[in-house]
Assembly symmetry: C2
Homo-oligomer: 474 residues x 2
C-alpha cells in the first residue's frame, strides 16, 4: 500500500491524527483501492512512513476494527474486511432462470447444464404401485390436510435412510419439505432477520444465495480450498460478523465438486460451537459417491446440534416428487414448523404417503445402487473423453462423485465467451459467473454429464477441444 | 377529549406553542389514551379552551399529520391514525397452529373448526384414473423438473375455469402455486420490502397476516362492514400510508362470511388505481354460493390490472393436491416467477399433469355442482338448527355461501371462555381472537359446518344453546 497510495495527515488539524488516518484508509477501502483481505502495512512501518507515533496507527486500526472495516489475525497483521453482498447483479439472476428453463426447453442440443438424471432411470413402476396402493387404502383420506411437519410414518422411513449415513436422529427432528430449495427458504423465513449476515462458500449455489438475499440477508463469501472452506479466513470473519448461519455442502459441492476433509468438518463444527452459530448442510449428491471411502455427512458428526441438514431427493429419486427432508436442532423446531405453515401449509400428503409406501416396499439400497452405478459410469466416460480432447487445455479436479466437473479454461479464454461460442455449436455449458455473487468469475465452466448419452459426452467434449484450438489454445 | 385530558401549555416556554400542543397529543396517543380513529376536538373549540390562536392548533394538527400520527377527512375533522401492527401476539400464533393440528388429530369431538370438506366427497376415482394415465403416457417424464410457472396445458385448463367466472385472461398471466397460502407467501416475497405497509380486513385470516409479517410487513386493519371494507376509512388510510397492497376476499370472507357489494368492488378498484397500489384477492369459497345472484370476483372487474387473484382448490377439489393458481398483472410476472423458483423451484409436475388430465376429462361443472349442493344442504341444516337452539341468544348473518357462520355471542359471554367450556363438552369452536391481530376480539366465534354429519350439527348447536342457558343467558 505505502508505495501506491500517499496518505496525507494534517498535523495541525483539529481532528486527532488517528482519526485522520482511519478516514483516509476508509476512503481507500470504499473507493475500491484496498480490496477485501488485503493486508494493511505493519504498524511500525506505517508509523515510520507517516512520521507519527505507532500508538496513532494502533488506534487508527482499532477504530477501523470497531467499525468492522478491517479485522486482525493474531500474529499476522490487519486485513481489509469483506463487504457483505446484499444483491446479486440482475443479469446473473435472470441468467439462472433462463438456464433453468433450458432444462425443459432445449431438446436437441448437447446439454451439459442439466443436473437432472435421465427420467428413464426414475423408479416409475414402483411408484405407480405405491400411488395406487395409497388410493385404494386411503381413498379421499389421502388428500386431506396434512400435519405441517409431515406424515409420521414417512418420517420414520426417512430416519432409517439417515441412519444408513450415520445420522442418528428421531422422528420429531425430521421435517418433510417440498424439495431442498424450500428447506433453504424455510430456514431463512424462520431464522433470518433483516440485515443478518449469512456465510456462504465462494463459489456457491445461486438458489440458496437468492433465498437468503430475498429475506434481507447479507452474504459474506468464504473462499473454498480443495478440502473445504478456508478455515483461517472463516475464523477471521466469524470474529468480525455474527452470522446467523454458515451455508455449505460437505460432499460434491455445487459448483466445484469438492468434498470436505474430515479435519475441516471437525473444525467447522468446533467453530460453529465457539462462535455460537448454525451450519446449514445441503446434501444433493451424497448418494452419488464412486470411491470406496465411507460417506460421513457433517450432520453425522454433529454432537452439539449445530447443523441443520437439508436433503434433496430430486437427484437420487425424482425431481417431480418435490420432496426432501430437514433434520433440525430442537431449538428451532417450532419456528420452522410455523414457517412451513405460513409457506404452504404442508407438502402434498398424497405424495408423502406414496413415498412412504415406496420406501417400505422397496427400501433404498437397490435403486440407490443403480443410480450410483449409472452416475459412476458417466463419470468414467466423461473423464476419459476429457483426457482425450481437453488434456493440456483445461484443468479440472476428480471429485470422485456427483454428476459434474468444474473446469478451469486456459488463460485468456473467458468463460462467458466460450459458452456463447459453444452454444453456436449446439453445446450448452454453464459459465462460472452463475455461481459467483459478484458475477465476475470468468475462468471456469461447470460440466454436468448426468443426463447425456455416451455419444453426446464424446461429441460435446470433442467440440469443446476443437473450439479451444480454434481460439488459438493448445 | 377536552373533558378528560387537561393539556397544559407553557406560554413562556422556549418551544413554540404549536409544537408543545403536538407533543402533548403525541403523548396521549402513545400512552393509549387516544385510540385509533378517535376524533380530535375541532380547531376552534380546542383553541378556545387552551386560550391560543386557532393557527396554533392548525399548525399542531398539520405537524401531527406530517408525522402520520393523525389524518384529516375533508369536512369531518382530524382523527388519530391507526398504528401499524408489526407482530401478532405469540399466543394467537401458536393457537392457530394447535387448531390446525386439531383438524388432523381430534377424531371424536364435534369439530366446528375444520374448514375441510369430508374426504368422502373428494373425486378420488377420477383422479386415480388421471394419475395412472399420466404415468402410462409420460412414464419417468412425469417426474422431471417443471417450469416454475407451471405446466402449460394445465394453465390452459385453468383459464377455462377462470372464464366461467368472468375472468378473461391468458396462459402467460397464470402462475401455478402449491396452494393459496403459497400464493400469499410468493407475492410477499416478490413485492414486500422490510417496513412496507399492507392493508388487511379487520378481522382477517391469520395465515395471510403471518406471511406478510414474516416478510417485515406492517399491517393496517380496515374495518369490515356488511358489504365490504369501510371505504371512507380505506381512503383516509390510503392518504396516510402507501400500502404495497390491500389483501381481501370478495366472497364469503374468512372469518366473517361477508361478500362485497358491486358498488364497493368498483370503489375498491378505483381507489387502488387512484393511490397506485395492488389488491390481493384470495378466493377459497366462490364455488360454494347458494343464492341465485351471479358470482363476480373482483378480478372480473379489473380492467386496470390492479388485482392479483389467488384461487385455492383445497375446498372445491381436495386440500392434499396442494395446487392453486394466481392471475398476475404483467408487471409482476417476472418477480413472482423468480420468487417461486427460490421458494420451491416448481409445484409437483406429476400432480399438475394429473390435474390437467382430470380437468380435460371431467371439466368442472359436475363436481362443483355436487360440492355446492352438499355445502348448501349443510348450510340449510345449520341455519335451521341455529334457529331452533340459538335463537335470541346469538346473532349471525346469512352469508348465502361458504361453509362457516360468524356468530356474535350474548353480551357478557367471552368467546374464549365459551370455547373452553364447549371443549369440555367435546365441541370444538374457533374463537374470534384467532382472526384479530391484537388478539383482543372476544365476542365472536366461527362455526364451520362443512365436515360434520347432520346429527353432529344438531347435537353441537343444541349443546351450545344449553351451555349459554347454563351461563345464565336467554
Amino acid at each position: 500500500m505505502e508505495e501506491i497510495f500517499r496518505i496525507q495527515l494534517d498535523k495541525d488539524g483539529t481532528l486527532p491524527l488517528y482519526q485522520q488516518l482511519a478516514e483516509e484508509i476508509t476512503l481507500l477501502i470504499s473507493d475500491g483501492f484496498l480490496q477485501a483481505d488485503s493486508k494493511l502495512p505493519p504498524i511500525r512501518k506505517m508509523a515510520q512512513q507517516l512520521g507519527v507515533n505507532s500508538v496513532t496507527v494502533v488506534n487508527a486500526y482499532k477504530y477501523l476494527e470497531q467499525k468492522q472495516l478491517v479485522y486482525s489475525r493474531m500474529g499476522s497483521g490487519t486485513f481489509v474486511s469483506p463487504l457483505p453482498v446484499e444483491h446479486i447483479p440482475a443479469p446473473v439472476a435472470s441468467r439462472n432462470l433462463r438456464s433453468f428453463g433450458g432444462e425443459v426447453a432445449v431438446e436437441h442440443a448437447i446439454n451439459f447444464s442439466s443436473t437432472s438424471l435421465p427420467h428413464e432411470m426414475f423408479p416409475v413402476d414402483a411408484f405407480k404401485k405405491a400411488f395406487n396402493e395409497v388410493l385404494d387404502r386411503e381413498k379421499g383420506g389421502a388428500f386431506r390436510y396434512m400435519d405441517s411437519m409431515g406424515y409420521a410414518p414417512l418420517r420414520e422411513q426417512l430416519c432409517r435412510y439417515l441412519d444408513s449415513y450415520g445420522i442418528k436422529t428421531t422422528v420429531e427432528n425430521v421435517q418433510v419439505i417440498s424439495g431442498a430449495q424450500q428447506g433453504i427458504d424455510l430456514i431463512s423465513k424462520a431464522m433470518l432477520r433483516y440485515g443478518d449476515v449469512v456465510f456462504v462458500e465462494k463459489p456457491t449455489f445461486y438458489g440458496a444465495a437468492g433465498a437468503f438475499l430475498s429475506r434481507g440477508g447479507k452474504l459474506v463469501e468464504i473462499p473454498l480450498e480443495q478440502d473445504g472452506m478456508d478455515m483461517m479466513k472463516l475464523e477471521d470473519y466469524l470474529k468480525l460478523y455474527q452470522p446467523k448461519f454458515i451455508y455449505m455442502m460437505a460432499y460434491f459441492q455445487t459448483p466445484t465438486g469438492i468434498s470436505y476433509s474430515m479435519e475441516k468438518k471437525r473444525r467447522l463444527l468446533e467453530l460453529a460451537e465457539k462462535y455460537d452459530t448454525y451450519i446449514i448442510e445441503e446434501d444433493n449428491f451424497c448418494d452419488f459417491h464412486y470411491g470406496k471411502e465411507p460417506i460421513v455427512p457433517l450432520k453425522a458428526l454433529d454432537y452439539k446440534n449445530r447443523v441443520i441438514y437439508i436433503k434433496s431427493f430430486s437427484k437420487i429419486l425424482m425431481p417431480g416428487l418435490r420432496i426432501g427432508l430437514m433434520v433440525l436442532p430442537k431449538k428451532i423446531h417450532q419456528a420452522v414448523m410455523e414457517a412451513k405453515y405460513t409457506t404452504d401449509i404442508s407438502t402434498s400428503g398424497f405424495i408423502q404417503r406414496a413415498l412412504e409406501g415406496y420406501l417400505r416396499e422397496n427400501g433404498w439400497e437397490h435403486h440407490s445402487e443403480e443410480m450410483r452405478k449409472y452416475g459412476s459410469e458417466k463419470y468414467r466416460r466423461t473423464l476419459s473423453a476429457a483426457g482425450k480432447y481437453l488434456s493440456g487445455l483445461v484443468k479440472y479436479g476428480r471429485p470422485g462423485g456427483g454428476i459434474s466437473l468444474w473446469m478451469e479454461l486456459p488463460e485468456g479464454v473467458g468463460a462467458e465467451a466460450f459458452c456463447s461460442r459453444m452454444l453456436e455449436k449446439n453445446v450448452i455449458l454453464t459459465p462460472g459467473s452463475q455461481y459467483d455473487l459478484s458475477g465476475e468469475e470468468n475462468s471456469h465452466i461447470r460440466l454436468s454429464f448426468g443426463n447425456l448419452t455416451d455419444d453426446q459426452i464424446e461429441v460435446g467434449l470433442k467440440r469443446m477441444g476443437d473450439t479451444l484450438r480454434e481460439m488459438g489454445k493448445g
